[in-house]
Symmetry: C2
């Protein structure tokens, strides 16, 4: 394989992705792991990271750049947030080197909106957004970044100006796993099919009446008891309702028009359909690719030249 | 003590309350237990009920009347819902006797709203509402019944005409226990103090912008990270937000004006303040008293005369 110039990692709450990247910016090796923040904890970050780099055949002096929850208080090293509004390139250059570690490991900061009344935080998405700018060019953009904590972000000529988080993915998980809705969803598969009619129907309810969401949730249970709503349909209903509420609220907060959908995996088709139904013009980019591009942009600013070359 | 004329029980999802009641309708003995539906399960209902009645000194031939989740599919005996609109006295007379049990045990039905698009169900509240009518007289009323699954109910001259459930209490529990907000709430006490400024502030947010609730939830977390929001305040914020969203949505669905607040315990002060702030004229009645009155009204219609006399 081509020789790696640096290692790049997106270390989130539940997942860790590591790439070796050559000096043209192309990935030459990749590893995905469930060893996210929650399963590592304590002082195990270096051990996990070195084991995976070893498995990928990375030299011990290969420098590394890391984004995501590894930079949080419960992570490897707390890296202070950069305050919004913030130029994306400034965010990338504020990384902090992990001390007492032989390898050069730089962890990127997150971004914070310190507004009384509407505080918000992100860790990892700022790096994806640098990748979006690298991929599509700068300009004025609205980005929708679905996930456990969905972010909607406004970019103005390379500056992150405003953003909001919706707890859509986490609400789906805790309600499906720990509430009375668990009875209705039963053993429904994890991935919802956007073609399921219940998805579109409940998406419509969420878009039309987001203020009623905490009542509509119970109607999924009542629909099972009174009208025999099946587990697959109940799961699609819950997903559609929560995504619809997110989009209705986001449209009011951040406006309509064109949106860049930054997504990977099964959520892509659901949000593509939902955003289109809500009247957005949607441009989809791959979340894995954008985070790698963002990490690469950071590496070109930050890492020692010739680390492994 | 005065001789008991019958036993009455409110058997819910997490709690069981049993009274012995004399022929004037006065309670002569009472037992509260955590042996709700979830902890009994299987075929243990008769054993639990007979043990408690024995501890209270009830004769083995004392008839009993039961309301609540004991009549659900996962309960002691499934008793079909009565469809809304329904006269409260009709609901009380549709009880079903538990078969193969020596004692006469009558379980009351729940009520169902079989509307496509807005199905809803209740079990137990219909009996409380019969108690409200016994206490305040019939008439046109709007009742707010806070809890795990808060109900708002419209009554027209003794007929239950419409109702809606909000998952307020259960959302509080699952988010406090199983979501990222658990980090923010920490070891906050179970009971929120309505005098906590954060309760009023977040109640206001919920009332003003209920459509943004799934974003506001994350702002409780961000407020902890950026502005040092303390656990007690985070718990008050979560409670205030969810109650505010419920009331804003309920006002739109069921109207404003006067509301009968049917409540016991710590939720009473929170809803009293919240409803008043939202512009309701509030009349509060005790939920324990109303369910006992409703069970007594049912007993006078249903039970064998002279069971223990």
């Amino acid at each position: 394989m081509t020789r790696a110039a640096f290692a790049a990692a997106d270390w989130g709450t539940t997942r860790l992705r590591v790439w070796l990247i050559d000096d043209t910016g192309a990935p030459v090796a990749e590893r995905r792991s469930d060893e996210g923040l929650l399963s590592v904890g304590g002082a195990g970050f270096e051990a996990v990271f070195e084991r995976i780099l070893g498995e990928l055949g990375a030299p011990t002096d290969l420098p590394a750049i890391v984004c995501g929850m590894a930079g949080s208080r419960q992570g490897w090293l707390e890296v202070p947030y950069v305050d919004v509004p913030a130029k994306l390139e400034d965010v990338l250059s504020r990384a902090v080197r992990v001390p007492s570690v032989r390898r050069q490991v730089m962890i990127l900061p997150g971004a914070a909106l310190r507004q009384q009344g509407r505080p918000d935080v992100m860790r990892g998405e700022e790096t994806q957004l640098a990748g979006v700018a690298a991929l599509l060019g700068e300009g004025n953009r609205l980005a929708c970044m679905p996930g456990t904590h969905s972010k909607w972000v406004e970019l103005r000529d390379g500056t992150l100006t405003d953003f909001t988080t919706w707890m859509t993915g986490e609400l789906y998980s805790v309600l499906a796993g720990h509430s009375i809705l668990a009875h209705s969803l039963g053993k429904a598969p994890g991935a919802v099919d956007p073609e399921t009619p219940a998805f579109g129907a409940w998406l419509g309810k969420g878009l039309a009446n987001p203020q009623d969401v905490t009542a509509k949730l119970f109607k999924i249970r009542a629909g099972g008891l009174l009208f025999g709503l099946q587990p697959d349909d109940a799961a699609a209903a819950l997903s559609g309702l929560l995504i619809g509420v997110e989009i209705a609220s986001a449209r009011r907060t951040h406006g309509g028009g064109e949106v860049v959908l930054v997504v990977s995996g099964a959520l892509g088709a659901l949000y593509q359909m939902a955003l289109t139904l809500a009247g957005y013009r949607v441009r989809t980019v791959d979340a894995d690719e954008t985070v790698r591009l963002g990490l690469t942009a950071a590496a070109s600013r930050l890492l020692d030249a010739g680390g492994s070359r």
